[in-house]
């Protein structure tokens, strides 16, 4: 009953989702369904609309048209309920340079109304390996450490849905290897994950469904068990151009 197997509802349902800025299309027609506990990777070259898609799903951008449901709710109507279920890690850390590490987390803890904030902050910092820097200002952290802290920030309220926009930004090899551990080890059950990245290797190893976003449209969708990483890489190169 409990867990991904018995689940009927969808965490994310997007149909014909579009977003344009003036006369520029960032998203044309995105159809995407993500079940609870599922892990979906979105690959795409620069400017393909990955960040816009994450921002629209994270409710910080309004879609121009199309339908979006998060956990069966319309973000336009139940914005706060939706936001509470979502954690976002992106190339923007959403941290305040002049606040200390623990102050940043305490701030977000208060914004989300997290209980037992102290204990959760300690746990989170331990998970991302920053417990010894808790009193330092974010300004003094390296980019990779800031990214780790950003992961602790996004998971502080244990959201069942994680939206990751190039979460490996700034992380070194060790950090990339620990990325999954840092993100999900605090959970009792697997969270739903949608992740964008240009890092094919990382995305393919972490996610069970691979999609390609080009020019604001999902042009290809492959389940891990039906494809080999070699053939998917070849496919992706065809869409994204030989350079990648």
């Amino acid at each position: 009953m409990i867990g991904a197997q018995g689940f009927k509802g969808k965490s994310i349902q997007a149909s014909l989702l579009a977003k344009s800025f003036g006369s520029i299309h960032a998203l044309r027609e995105v159809n995407l369904e993500v079940g609870a506990g599922e892990k979906v990777a979105i690959f795409g070259p620069n400017g393909s609309g990955k960040t816009t898609l994450i921002k629209v799903m994270a409710t910080i951008m309004r879609p121009s048209s199309g339908r979006l449901h998060i956990a069966g709710m319309n973000p336009g109507e139940n914005g706060h309920d939706v936001r509470r279920l979502i954690g976002v890690v992106s190339h923007n850390t959403y941290l305040y340079d002049d606040l200390a590490v623990e102050e940043n987390l305490a701030f977000y803890g208060r914004m989300y109304g997290v209980e037992n904030v102290k204990a959760r902050i300690t746990n989170g910092l331990r998970r991302v390996g920053l417990e010894r820097r808790s009193r330092d200002r974010v300004r003094t952290l390296s980019r990779g450490m800031q990214q780790r802290l950003s992961i602790a920030r996004a998971t502080l309220h244990e959201p069942p849905i994680l939206l990751l926009d190039e979460p490996d930004t700034g992380l070194d090899e060790a950090g990339q290897a620990q990325l999954w551990e840092m993100l999900t080890s605090g959970y009792a059950d697997e969270p739903t994950v949608v992740m964008t990245t240009h890092n094919l290797k990382l995305g393919m190893s972490l996610c069970s469904r691979w999609t390609v976003l080009v020019d604001g449209e999902i042009v290809s969708e492959v389940a891990k068990e039906n494809s080999s990483s070699e053939s998917f890489q070849a496919l992706y190169r065809r869409y994204a151009g030989a350079g990648t």
Binding site: I2, G6, A36, A58, I60, D98, E115, P160
Partner: protein, 261 residues
């Protein structure tokens, strides 16, 4: 008003959402035990305000630039208007308010730019927080910064021009005038930051709208300095109060349309 209603409504909404999601979400419920109980409107306002004040306390970014600029304005006007003798009492209130408004606009722009620079506004928008709460917090932060600027500038002004401005009457007018200025200014700073030519847009948008605040504040300050009876001053103070009430409400309601894409 909607904001308050919403923050109360949230709990049943959350319950509904879990039902809507079906069995699998039992997982989410157990997970979200950490995040039960929506934070109240005022707790979130407090959190954002605390964050802004803490950052400013460490960087002194906004206050120092406002203060230096305000002083420069005072000195420049001294040369421009020969602020001595008979001239003084007529021109001084205007000089004082122009210094406040110019320096204040600098602070308004700066505080919104800080949110923009590292996309922290997006971080705020991710949170389950009423857009009205963000407005109230940013507005209070701006109000506090500008009032601190004024509290430092007033004694200097009094010393420079030997005028008795350190009275409760002037204090009241300053706070009321600044409240109206800060509320419209917070709204427009959020607009200007996302436009072309953003530094120019804020004064262009703000100055015409706050004409009543400037007229009323200058007049009321002049009357107080002139020793006029309060019966003559009240109409101006009432005008300030009316402006404050109307625009706090209008800006609170419209703020949600100016943030986010």
């Amino acid at each position: 008003m909607r904001a308050f209603r919403r923050s109360i409504d949230v709990t049943p909404g959350l319950g509904r959402s879990f039902v809507a999601m079906g069995d699998g979400l039992t997982a989410a419920i157990s997970i979200s035990r950490a995040a039960v109980g929506p934070p109240s409107f005022f707790r979130q306002v407090g959190a954002i305000l605390w964050k802004d004040l803490a950052v400013e306390l460490r960087t002194k970014d906004i206050l120092s630039s406002m203060l230096v600029f305000g002083l420069i304005v005072l000195v420049i006007f001294n040369f421009a208007f020969e602020l001595r003798g008979e001239n003084l009492i007529l021109v001084a209130p205007g000089v004082l308010w122009v210094a406040f408004v110019f320096a204040g606009i600098l602070g308004l722009g700066r505080s919104m730019a800080q949110e923009k620079e590292r996309s922290s506004m997006e971080g705020l928008l991710l949170c389950p927080v009423d857009r009205g709460a963000i407005f109230v917090a940013k507005m209070l932060g701006n109000l506090i910064f500008i009032v601190i600027l004024e509290a430092i500038t007033l004694p200097i002004f009094a010393a420079f021009f030997n005028l008795p401005v350190l009275t409760p009457g002037v204090g009241l007018i300053v706070v009321l005038g600044t409240l109206g200025f800060a509320s419209v200014g917070t709204l427009f700073a959020a607009i200007a930051i996302n436009t072309r030519a953003r530094e120019v847009m804020l004064p262009i948008l703000l100055f015409p709208i706050i004409v009543p605040v400037i007229i009323a504040s200058v007049k009321a300050t002049a009357f107080v300095l002139d020793g006029k009876p309060w019966a003559e001053i009240w109409p101006w103070v009432n005008l300030l109060i009316a402006f404050d009430v109307i625009f706090l409400a209008v800006c609170f309601v419209t703020f949600e349309y100016v943030i986010g894409e």
